[in-house]
Amino acid sequence: MTALSDVSTHAMASARWRISEVAFWVLALACAFLFPSRYLIMTDIVRLGLFALSLDLILGYAGIVSLGHAAFFGVGAYSAGLLALHGIINEPVIALVAAGLVAAVLGFLTSFLVIRGADLTRLMVTLGIALLLEALAERFSDITGGTDGLQGIEMQPILGLFAFDMFGKTGFLYSLIVLFVLFLLARRVVHSPFGLSLRAIRNNPLRAAAIGVPVNRRLIAVYTLAAFYAGIAGALFTQTTALASLDVFAFERSADLMLVLVIGGTGYLYGGLIGAVVFKMLQELFQSITPQYWLFWIGLVLVVIVMVGRARIHRLVLFVPNLIIRQFAGRKAAVAVPESEAS
C-alpha cells in the first residue's frame, strides 16, 4: 500500500538529522580547539544556550511565556553551590543532576499557578515567582550567603578524573557535553507524540482537548522538564565559575533570555543556541566599542530584527553559506531556518 509507506516516510521526515545540524555540532566542538584563549566566554555562551533551550521548550513548543525563568536557573545554581560547599555531593555530574531535579520539583509545584490564565497572567506569575525567590535568597543569608553569595566553593574533578583548570577548558568541554546530551533528549521529546501534542496545544488548546489531549497534564510535564533544564544551566554556572550570588535570580537574566529567543527564533530548538551565540557576540562587540552604552545597541538590534523580520535576516545571513553548500552537496542540502510565528 503506497499511501501507508508515504505516511510513514513523511511522518518520520521531520525527525531526521540534517547535514546542517551535524555541521553545527562539529563546529561547536571545533571551537574548543580553534579559540583556546576564549574558553570563558564560550562556556558562557553554552550555558546561555542551554538556558534558552529550556525556555524554547515551553515558549516555542507549548506557547507558555515566562519572564521569570531565572527562578529555576537560580535554584539550580544555589543547589549546586550548596551541594559542593557542604560536601554533600562532591562529584559534579551527580550534583548537576541533583540540582536539576531540585529545580524540576520547583517547576512542578509552580506549574499549577502558571498553566492557568492567559499570556499576561503567566508573565506576571512567572515574574513574581522569580522575585519571590530572589527576596528569599537574600533573607536567608545564613544559607545563601546573602548579598555576598556563596563563597569558597571548591569543585572536585568531574567523575573523579577531569579537574577544572584555570583556563576553563575542562569547564567548556563539560558544559558542551551536557548541552549536547540535553539537546539530544529535547530533540527526541519534541519529535515524539508528546512533543506534537504540545505544538497542538500552542496552536489551539480548545481543539487539543477536543481530540483527547489532557492539556493541563502536558503543560505541567513540559514546564517541569524546562525547569530541570534551566536548573542544570544554573548548576553549570556555579560549577564552572565556583560562584553563586543573588544575581542568578535577577530579572535581567530572565529578560535577556527572551532577547536570545527573539534573536534566534523559537520552535526549532536551535533558536536558543544560535541566539545565545549572536547575543553574547553582540554584547562583547558593543561593550568593546561603548562600555557604558552597549544596551543602547542591543536595543537597536532588537528593533531592527522586529522591523525587518527574522525570516529575511536569516536568508541574508545564510546566503553565502548556502552558495558554498550548493556547490558541494547540491541544491537540496541548502540550509534553511524553519520559521515559527514570532513570539
Partner: protein, 250 residues
C-alpha cells in the same frame, strides 16, 4: 434500541439569561439525529455542555447510560464522544498528517509517549493513511493546515473527529462557509460516516438536514419545541411558524 446520548433536564443560564431550558434529549444508538433551531436558539450552548466546555447549572448528561456531566473535555473524548466545530478549530502550523497522527496517538493512549518518535508505530501509520485517504487528504498531507483550501480544512475538521474513533459524533454545521464547488465533498463525507457511529447534527442548512437525518429535534429559546421524524417535523405548524417560516422569509 439503546440510548447513545441523553440529556436530562439540562439548564444553563448566563446571568439572567436562560440559554438552555429544561432540555431532555435522547439520541438513539446509530441514529442520524439533527438538532435544528433558529439563530440564538442555544444550539452551540447545548453542544458545549455535551462536550464539557461548559458546565450546566443543573441536569445531567449521559453517554451510553453513564453520567458524564462532571467529566473534563478530553475524558469525554476518550469515552467515545467526539465533535467537529462550526468554525474550523484546527492547528494552523501543523500538517494534516501531524493533526491526524496526533489524534490517533491520543486515542491509542500513546499521546504521552515522549521517547518514541512519530511515524515509528506501524499501527498508527496504517490508521493515519486510512483516514487521510478516506477524506481525500493524502495529496495535501504535508502542507500546513493554514494554507489548505477551506473545503479541505472542513474535511480535515471531520477527519480529526473521526480519528478519535467516536461512538457518538457531534457535527456542528459541517457545511458552514464552504463554497458551492466544494460542498459536494463535505456532504459525501458526512453521508459516508460509518453506520455504527451515532451522529448528532447541528445544522442550518435544511437540504442537508432533510437528506441526512432520520430524526429531528427543534430547539427554540433554549427549550425543546418538538421532535419527530423529518416529515412530521416539516408538517408541524409550530415549527413552520417559528423556524421554517422564518427561514423562508430570509
Amino acid at each position: 434500541m439503546t440510548i447513545a446520548l441523553e440529556t436530562r433536564n439540562l439548564e444553563k443560564s448566563f446571568g439572567g439569561l436562560r440559554v438552555t431550558r429544561d432540555l431532555s434529549l435522547k439520541v438513539m444508538q446509530g441514529a442520524r439525529h439533527a438538532l435544528i433551531g433558529p439563530n440564538g436558539a442555544g444550539k452551540t450552548t447545548v453542544i458545549n455542555q455535551l462536550t464539557g466546555v461548559l458546565t450546566p447549572n443543573s441536569g445531567s448528561i449521559l453517554l451510553e447510560g453513564a453520567d458524564i456531566t462532571g467529566l473534563s473535555v478530553h475524558r469525554r473524548v476518550l469515552r467515545g464522544l467526539s465533535r467537529t466545530f462550526q468554525i474550523n478549530q484546527l492547528y494552523p502550523d501543523l500538517t494534516p498528517l501531524e493533526t491526524i497522527g496526533l489524534a490517533v496517538s491520543e486515542r491509542m493512549g500513546r499521546g504521552g509517549d515522549w521517547w518514541r518518535r512519530m511515524g515509528t508505530r506501524s499501527d498508527v501509520n496504517a490508521e493515519i493513511a486510512e483516514i487521510l485517504s478516506r477524506f481525500h487528504l493524502l495529496d495535501v498531507m504535508t502542507e500546513l493546515t493554514s494554507t489548505l483550501p477551506y473545503g479541505k480544512q472542513r474535511l480535515l475538521e471531520i477527519a480529526v473527529a473521526i480519528a478519535a474513533r467516536p461512538r457518538v459524533l457531534l457535527l456542528d454545521e459541517p457545511a458552514a462557509g464552504v463554497p458551492e464547488s466544494e460542498r459536494h465533498d463535505i456532504l459525501a463525507a458526512v453521508a459516508a460516516l460509518p453506520r455504527d457511529v451515532t451522529v448528532l447534527l447541528i445544522e442550518h442548512d435544511m437540504d442537508l438536514v432533510f437528506s441526512f437525518a432520520d430524526r429531528i429535534s427543534v430547539l427554540v429559546n433554549g427549550g425543546l419545541l418538538t421532535e419527530g421524524a423529518p416529515d412530521e417535523v416539516a408538517r408541524d405548524p409550530q415549527v413552520r411558524a417559528v423556524y421554517l417560516g422564518e427561514a423562508a422569509d430570509a
